[in-house]
Every structure is written in structure tokens, then in C-alpha cells.
């Protein structure tokens, strides 16, 4: 592990001096203090901590998988595994000529439906606005649901999608990864599906290992 990368817990002083505090770091005097458990990282004068635990915080343009939990006359409320509910406006589904008299929201989505959605806007003052219009978005009809910690999602995707591509190619599975830690995997071949699920669980379990890619590759190539 390099010199500027190390494990920290809240309150640990990462470094002192002229640096810029970023993700999960606060500045106290000239001390850079970590605010969560994770890996500290100093690059280009900026200090940040990559968290190892925590809940999902919505971010604009994130793909999430959520469950419809209720609806009002104008919108659905979607559980996106975060501290806030996702709001899906009815006009997003019915189009601009939506009328709360003519259209019944349960026609399109009812409680308990799973959807793949994208975060449109979130500024913490209001609940995050989501949309399901777009490629690969919308209601999810089939597949296997897997839940992992949100902090492990970047590891599952890998550098420029390398990890997930490798799994998809090896198993022929179609995997939708929500940034909120909910994953949908589907595959025509049941063996491929179980292998993909095993690989995802393995990444969640061993995400801190440096040779993770090789380990997953080996597992995918093994015949059982």
C-alpha cells in the first residue's frame, strides 16, 4: 500500500498542511481529519476518504433500482435504499398530457413493482426526483435480486466497467447495477446465473483485496 493510502477511523488526523478537504474529510486548523471509516487518499493536493461503510446518498445521474411503495395523485414514491424516498412524477410515465382525472397511476406501476430509474435532481432540500424514461430504465419484470453494500458498488463495476464486463462475458448474464447497492441479474442459463451471483457476493466479501480481479477470474473460469 502506498504511503498516502492508509486505513482511518473517525477522528484520525490524515495529514497536516496546505491541502484541500474533499469527501469525508474536514479541516480543523491545519489538520485534515477523517469523518468515517475508510481508506485515506491524497491526490493533487486534495485529501479524501473512500468510505467502507455507510448508506446511499442520491447523486444526480445515478442509476438506481427501487421498489414502488406508494403513490399520490401526481407521483409515485419509490424506496431507493437511501435515507430519502425517490419521487417519480406521473407525467414522466404518462407524458405531458397527463391528467390526474383520466389516468390511473396503478395502471402503469403498482405497489411492490421494481423499477430501474435514474436520479434527475437532488439537492437535499427536497426528496430526490427520479425518471424511468431512458434506455435500460423502467419496470423490471424478471431477474434475481441481489443486495450489496453501496460502498462496494464501484469495486463491482471496476475501472471503466472492467469487472462487471468480465462477469457478464463469462456467464452470459445481464446485470443491472444500481448505485444504491441493489443489483438485478438475469441469465437464460441457470448455471451462469448462479455463477454471476457467486461472483457478486465474492466481490462484496473480498472487496478490500488487491488481487480481487484475478480471484474473480479464477472463480469464473473454474468449471463447477
Amino acid at each position: 500500500m502506498s504511503k498516502d493510502k492508509r486505513y482511518v477511523i473517525p477522528g484520525d488526523i490524515i495529514t497536516t498542511g496546505p491541502y484541500r478537504p474533499e469527501q469525508n474529510v474536514i479541516l480543523d486548523g491545519n489538520k485534515m481529519i477523517a469523518t468515517c471509516i475508510g481508506l485515506s487518499d491524497i491526490t493533487d493536493g486534495a485529501v479524501r476518504v473512500i468510505p467502507l461503510t455507510g448508506r446511499y446518498i442520491p447523486k444526480g445521474d445515478d442509476l438506481v433500482v427501487g421498489k414502488v411503495i406508494s403513490h399520490s395523485a401526481m407521483s409515485w414514491e419509490v424506496d431507493i435504499n437511501s435515507c430519502y424516498l425517490g419521487i417519480l412524477p406521473a407525467s414522466d410515465v404518462f407524458g405531458r398530457d397527463f391528467s390526474s382525472h383520466a389516468n390511473d397511476l396503478t395502471e402503469k406501476l403498482s405497489n411492490g413493482d421494481l423499477i430501474a430509474a435514474r436520479i434527475v435532481n437532488f439537492d437535499r432540500t427536497r426528496d430526490p426526483l427520479i425518471t424511468i424514461s431512458g434506455r435500460e430504465l423502467g419496470k423490471i419484470d424478471s431477474g434475481e435480486l441481489i443486495k450489496i453494500s453501496t460502498t462496494k458498488v464501484p469495486r463491482l463495476i471496476g475501472k471503466r466497467g472492467s469487472m462487471i464486463q468480465m462477469i457478464e462475458e463469462a456467464t452470459n448474464a445481464n446485470i443491472t447495477i444500481g448505485q444504491n447497492g441493489i443489483i438485478i441479474a438475469s441469465c437464460e442459463n441457470p448455471d451462469g446465473l448462479s455463477k454471476a451471483i457467486r461472483a457478486i457476493n465474492m466481490i462484496e466479501e473480498d472487496s478490500h483485496r488487491i488481487n480481487l480481479t484475478d480471484m474473480v477470474k479464477k472463480m469464473l473460469e473454474s468449471s463447477d
Partner: protein, 244 residues
């Protein structure tokens, strides 16, 4: 809380206390992080004979809604003693004492947590005393802090806690139940070890100004010892698996 034995020797001529400790020694403390599957964060602490479970939920929606704050998240704390935690069955309804301890623990953690990143939400802390033997508020505070870190709640610093006190005219560290009952003073403290700030300070008893200063000093020393154990508990859960 058990009968009082008038003949108990709190400090013998060799400087040993009723349970065999020296004046500057804490009881044996063990902490384990992440013991509950369904909570967002959790910890279990054994502080001598005290056994306490801490569970964290959140940040999550506030119910009832009127408690929510549009500028910041809020902290809620429930300290509860199980009916079987003490010698005589304890009525499980929250007592005056439990309401007070819930409040002081909440206020001891508030300077540490950074909740303005989660407006309109609440972080719930549940502290369940499974077995009590004096100094539960300190032990519960130490466990709550580990559980908060385990839940990934942003914090300026960990909060560690330990009590100091006075028995037989001597300042001692980490008061147990016997010493609390028969002793002269008990002073629980919460402390942020890196920021060097005190977040909880209560005092039951009478101390001279000199004794008070000594007590604070001894208490901070105890908090630092507890902090090392808290750190170890988190390191064990997050950093111990395999290579890096």
C-alpha cells in the same frame, strides 16, 4: 441495585481496591463492532461486568414528522435496562433515570456527529443494558460511538468514556457498582480523544477543587485507554481481513 455491605473495604493498605484493581486501573473492556445484522450499525461492549448492546438505525425518515429539522439531521437516543440486568427485576418501563441517561448520552454524542449532510432525517441510537454493574452510562456511550462509526455516520471524532471517582479519600479510575454505592464521589466523563474535548461530565458526590482536577486528569487517562479498545474493535471488523 443490590444491597449495601457496610463492612466492605474499598481500598486496602496495599492500594488494592475491592475487586483487586489498583487506583489507576480500568476494568477489563472488550468491544465488538457489527454484531447485529438488521441494524445499520451496531456494537457490543463488556465493561467489567457490564454487558451492553448498541444498535444504530439511520439516517432515516423522521416519525413523527414534526420533529424533523429542514436544516440538519437529528439524533435520538434510547437507553434501556433489561428487566434482568440488575439483581431485583427492573420494571421495563422507562424510568426517570433512564430518560436522563438517554438525554445525556445524546448530548455527549451531538458534538461529534455531523448530521447537516442529512437534513430531515434522524439517526436512532438504541442502547440495551443486558447486565449492569456501575458505570453503564460510560460503557453505553463508548459502545454507541463505535456503533455510529460502524453505521458510517460522519463524525468529527470518536467519543470515548470512562468514570473517575473518590473512595476512601483517594481518587480512583473507573468506579464499579460497589464503589459507587459506598464511595464518596462518582464522575462519569465522555471525551473526544483527538480533539481533546470533554462532551459529558457529571458529578455525584463532593470533591475539593484539587480532587476535581485530579479526577478530570484520571478520567481523561481512562478515556484514552477506552479509545484504544474502540479503535481496535473497528480495525478488527474493517481492516483485519487478509491483505490490504
Amino acid at each position: 441495585m443490590g444491597g449495601r455491605d457496610p463492612n466492605v473495604v474499598l481500598l486496602d493498605e496495599n492500594g488494592k481496591r475491592s475487586d483487586g484493581r489498583t487506583v489507576n486501573e480500568t476494568r477489563k473492556v472488550t468491544i465488538k463492532a457489527g454484531v447485529l445484522k438488521n441494524a445499520n450499525g451496531s456494537a457490543y461492549i463488556e465493561f467489567g461486568e457490564n454487558k451492553i448492546l448498541a444498535g444504530i438505525y439511520g439516517p432515516r425518515d423522521v416519525h413523527p414528522k414534526h420533529l424533523s429539522n429542514p436544516d440538519t439531521g437529528i439524533l435520538r437516543c434510547r437507553y434501556h435496562m433489561s428487566p434482568f440486568s440488575v439483581g431485583e427485576r427492573k420494571n421495563p418501563a422507562p424510568s426517570r433515570r433512564e430518560v436522563e441517561i438517554s438525554k445525556v448520552i445524546k448530548e455527549a454524542l451531538e458534538p461529534a456527529v455531523i448530521l447537516d449532510q442529512f437534513p430531515r432525517t434522524v439517526v436512532d441510537i438504541f442502547l440495551e443494558i443486558l447486565q449492569a454493574d456501575g458505570g453503564t452510562r460510560c460503557a453505553a456511550l463508548a459502545a454507541a460511538s463505535v456503533a455510529l462509526a460502524d453505521a458510517g455516520i460522519p463524525m468529527r471524532d470518536m467519543v470515548s468514556a470512562c468514570a473517575a471517582g473518590k473512595v476512601a479519600d483517594t481518587v480512583i479510575l473507573d468506579v464499579n457498582n460497589e464503589e459507587d454505592q459506598a464511595g464518596q464521589a462518582d464522575m462519569p466523563m465522555g471525551y473526544m480523544p483527538n480533539l481533546k474535548k470533554i462532551t459529558l461530565l457529571q458529578l455525584d458526590g463532593v470533591l475539593t477543587p484539587e480532587e476535581y482536577k485530579k479526577c478530570v486528569e484520571v478520567g481523561i487517562d481512562g478515556c484514552n485507554q477506552v479509545y484504544e479498545i474502540q479503535k481496535k474493535a473497528l480495525e478488527e471488523k474493517y481492516f483485519s481481513k487478509g491483505d490490504q
